[in-house]
Subunit: 232 residues, 2 copies
DNA sequence: TCAAAAGTGTTCATCTTACACCCATGG
DNA sequence: CCATGGGTGTAAGATGAACACTTTTGA
């Protein structure tokens, strides 16, 4: 195949997107990484991502790369920050627009990637060393996740559609790294008025089964438009 | 001069930075714009910004372009968002990393730019139509400014070194677009414990002169490290 | 002496926090 | 019948919101 060449009057940096994908396991906030199969950093773990294609938006690039490398689709994805130190890639100047993503790990168990790469979930305390400046990107993402969770009910993105209040509380405790009083947490959460109580309860538990709740997206949108705050 | 050509295996987008610079006038939040002297959008007003150079970080690009086009230096500057729709520039695909900046307008009166371009401050209700998607960028910046002001005392960046509590209150009222009770505002602001009361008062006012205060950056940094909240 | 803004406290309602026991269920 | 987590209320303290008058100063 003949390599097509593209020529510009001025030198240009390469542009990529990278995604920090968070998933909540039973007791851990996990990160989705892929093992690189090319240089540089061959064999090392890295955030899923890759080069932008012409004609696609930056958002679309993030979605596409995430899908290609991890099989994930239709998940919560928002732009995080753009990293542009000239030496962050040893080959040449590469600017990366980082995204952060939340998935429900129950529905997205560790899976083979669609292409040849190895993808796996890692807990915070089992993280391998990461390629490029991905450690820094991850740090920024964790900071953003913590900050966001306090003011927006994004926790729903990390849980199954139907969840118990205790699951939600654990989520807050894990991400914010604090203990929370059960009664106070429930009062606050229910007062936000964005939960729908279902008639169902947990299954297959060796104790009293907890009620399942759903997130009321419509009500949430309505309240958001009214400028209601969702601080927890 | 011979044009130097740069050739790549894959097509690359161009990369620019743009800055939304806010300044506070007596009664208005103003935006700094420059008038374009080249196509496209020649003659139209736009955010200051331009193409990244090789070897410079994205942050440095924003600082450099801001300085070259407006003469501003050493001002509060933070990354805002990256805009990457493929059609935002009619010439070709251009990704722009937008920044938002705050300056004290008293010290940075409308000035001629250092290069040939025309730079001017515009109030919200006198805004000309903007080049590219700069209207959208501006909207995002305003939203960010509002959001940030509630949780971080960045108002200081928009005021002179020494300021009165009433000036600060006006700043909040203008940016948040609400009226604020004077006594409650003062109580809250002083309780943050990041103001130094000077012995000086306003000069040349035809009424009782107000005390001047300074922002205590050291104390603020210390409190920030302790994780104190600065919600107003 | 007047105009204009500076400066200052209290009350009431709301929210936050701390805290402990009974209940339902499955094994 | 026991172990496990589910589910619930109250009181005390802290915080937020509403509200009006006196003081200082220069013109």
């Amino acid at each position: 195949m003949a390599k097509k060449k593209f020529t510009y009057e001025y030198e240009r940096p390469a542009v990529t997107t990278d995604c920090v994908v968070f998933g909540l396991d039973e007791d851990d906030l996990k990160i989705l990484l892929i093992q690189r199969d090319i240089k540089p950093y061959e064999g090392q773990w890295a955030l899923p991502g890759g080069f932008i294609k012409m004609g696609e938006s930056v958002d679309d690039c993030a979605k596409r790369e995430l899908h290609e490398e991890t099989g994930l689709n239709n998940i919560y994805l928002e732009q995080l920050y753009t990293f542009g130190s000239p030496n962050r890639d040893p080959r040449e100047q590469v600017i990366t627009i980082a995204y952060f993503a939340l998935v429900n790990l129950i529905d997205h168990r560790p899976q083979a990637a669609t292409d040849a790469r190895n993808a796996a979930w890692f807990a915070q305390d089992e993280l391998p060393s990461l390629a490029f400046d991905h450690k820094e990107i991850l740090a920024k993402a964790k900071q953003r996740l913590k900050g966001k969770l306090k003011y927006e009910p994004i926790g729903f993105e990390l849980l199954p559609k139907k969840f118990t209040l205790t699951q939600m509380q654990h989520l807050y405790e894990i991400i914010l790294e604090t203990k929370i009083d059960k009664r106070n947490f429930r009062k606050k959460l229910l007062k936000l008025d964005i939960l729908i109580e279902t008639n169902e309860v947990e299954q297959d538990v060796a104790r009293r089964a907890a009620k399942l709740y759903k997130f009321d997206q419509k009500k949430y949108n309505k309240l958001t438009k009214q400028g209601i705050n969702f601080e927890i």
